[in-house]
């Protein structure tokens, strides 16, 4: 595994960082949580952040933390699906298609919620699960997998996720439509 400084990766995939933070902020606004500070992109670690009010509302905590995962993944799927055929199947050298694929991959690469975000859900989930909150019960496996994948970032698990989503999802959609 070769090492590339985080800021270089962030720089090359900056649309994904911005969308990730914008999704955090969007869900904070939807659930009417106070937003104390926002940084959509910087060449430092972390590449972006949203400092918001803590909440005991599990649904709000879940969607604020997981919002970027859903939004970035969805955008990754759409952009990669639009460019999948020329890039992977037809081997057509279309610069615009490659641009869309890069855009999709950059979104997919920054889909993972941070460990901090996951900790927030993890702390609230047991109590909510005991009360029979279905979302809390469902969140366990998702958070567990994402937690492990987050550690896998050092071995490019985030890029792997982006590529997997950018290939598998368009292929599945294509097979479904044809």
């Amino acid at each position: 595994m070769f090492f590339i400084p985080g800021f270089v990766i962030s720089l090359f995939t900056f649309p994904g960082v911005i969308i990730h933070e914008a999704a955090h902020m969007l869900f904070c606004k939807i659930f009417k949580l106070a937003i104390f500070d926002v940084c959509f992109f910087q060449l430092k670690n972390p590449a972006g952040y949203v400092i918001h009010e803590n909440t005991k509302n599990f649904t709000a905590a879940f969607f604020v933390a997981m919002g970027p995962f859903f939004v970035n993944t969805a955008l990754c799927i759409v952009f990669c699906s639009a460019a999948f055929m020329p890039v992977w199947e037809l081997q057509i050298e279309d610069p615009l298609a490659y641009f869309f694929y890069w855009l999709g991959l950059s979104m997919g690469m920054h889909a993972f919620p941070s460990t901090q975000d996951l900790k927030g859900i993890w702390a609230l989930a047991p109590g909510e699960a005991k009360r029979g909150n279905l979302l809390a019960i469902l969140s366990y496996p998702i958070v567990a997998v994402l937690y492990v994948l987050n550690f896998g970032r050092i071995i490019w698990a985030d890029l792997g996720y982006g590529i997997a989503v950018g290939i598998v999802a368009p292929l599945a959609i294509f097979k479904m439509l044809v």
């Binding site: 106070a34 104390f36 803590n54 639009a82 020329p86 037809l90 294509f174 097979k175």
Partner: protein
């Protein structure tokens, strides 16, 4: 005035005493380390001590309820209202609760949305091509090779560098026996990335090439009047590449020639009947059958054979009409078959030519 306001507010702000050095510090700049209050320097010192003792210190900042957590405005002795658990002045409270998306971000998001539409619009023709490729591929899996070709041809026009598309179309063409079209599809390309598909297609290609080479050898043997060897070779070619119907048909013609040479007219007729069944609209197949039936007439004198020969010759004439080449061939063999009917003598084309067409170079059998 401003100075007085500053003094008043600084006097009014809440203070705390550092547990270690006893210095009086503003509450908002104090830290709590495991329930004791410290100034920043002592908090750092205490933090390191606790950590060195192998424990995890709990560190929190302390908020002064009279000072805005965002802009630092000191409200004197009156406590600010709490927003999300922190004291904020009214403007800052509004800001944290209703923070708008920056204009540049709104613009960027609109741009991303527009790009999304462009991407989908841009991907439409590729999707169509991909759909055609998937259909062609599915038909190939179902062994419906001829039906797959019209789907795969436009794919290759849109994606001429696509190895998979080249290989799939070539496979469909080879498995329908169209070697010439497959050769055009390869376009002189012989190297492909090694995978199951390329291995399979190149194997079929190799088989087809070997069959055509063998058929070429058979033709040469036929030209040398080595009919039996030629028929054996042509049958070998037809077995090697059964997808090419032309090879098995030619093999039947060669077998017919061998039967004629051996004066086995029953076999000759049987082969000719079979060939005609396979190609009912071929003038050549009808002519071969007419020749075989005329042989039976010559041997038996049974007039029903003669009538059938005449019927077949008429059918061959009609079938040959659209093609000048077929017409020319018809005129050549009709003369010989009529001679066979009239004379009841069976001679091959070479002998006929020797006797009646000395100026015309030609080749052929019955």
């Amino acid at each position: 005035m401003e100075f007085l306001w500053f003094i008043l507010h600084n006097v009014a702000m809440r203070k705390a005493n550092c547990t270690t050095c006893n210095t009086v510090i503003p509450l908002s700049s104090a830290y709590r380390v495991d329930d004791a209050v410290y100034c920043e320097a002592c908090a750092n010192k205490r933090f390191n001590e606790v950590k060195a003792a192998g424990k995890v210190p709990r560190v929190t900042t302390i908020t002064d309820p009279t000072i805005c957590a965002k802009c630092g405005l000191d409200s004197g002795n009156s406590e600010l209202s709490l927003t999300a658990g922190l004291p904020f002045c009214i403007p800052c409270s509004q800001t944290v609760m209703e923070r708008p998306f920056p204009t540049w971000l709104k613009g960027s998001l609109a741009f991303v949305f527009a790009l999304l539409l462009v991407a989908l619009w841009h991907g439409r023709p590729y999707f169509k091509t991909g759909k055609s490729l998937a259909r062609g591929e599915r038909l190939l899996e179902q062994h419906r090779y001829a039906e797959a070709i019209p789907y795969l041809q436009p794919v290759l026009q849109s994606a001429p560098e696509c190895e998979k598309c080249i290989l799939l179309l070539a496979k469909a063409q080879l498995l329908t026996g169209d070697v010439e079209a497959a050769q055009k599809t390869f376009g002189g390309r012989t190297q492909f990335e090694r995978n199951d598909l390329s291995d399979e297609v190149l194997q079929i290609w190799d088989r087809a090439v070997r069959a055509i080479d063998t058929a070429g050898e058979a033709t040469k043997l036929s030209d040398q009047k080595k009919d039996e060897e030629a028929a054996a070779k042509m049958n070998q070619a037809a077995t090697l590449y059964p997808e090419m119907k032309g090879l098995s048909i030619t093999a039947e013609y060669y077998d017919a020639a061998v039967a004629f040479d051996h004066k086995d007219y029953n076999r000759f007729e049987q082969i000719a009947e079979n060939a005609w069944k396979q190609q009912p609209d071929s003038a050549a197949a009808v002519a071969m059958l007419a020749s075989a039936v005329a042989c039976q007439y010559a041997i038996t004198g049974d007039s029903s054979y003669r009538r059938r020969t005449e019927e077949l010759l008429e059918r061959a004439r009609v079938l040959a009409q659209p093609s000048p080449d077929d017409q020319k061939k018809y005129l050549e063999y009709v003369e010989r078959i009529r001679y066979r009917l009239q004379s009841r003598e069976i001679i091959d084309k070479d002998e006929y030519d020797r006797r009646f067409r000395q100026n015309l170079p030609n080749k052929g059998k019955g």
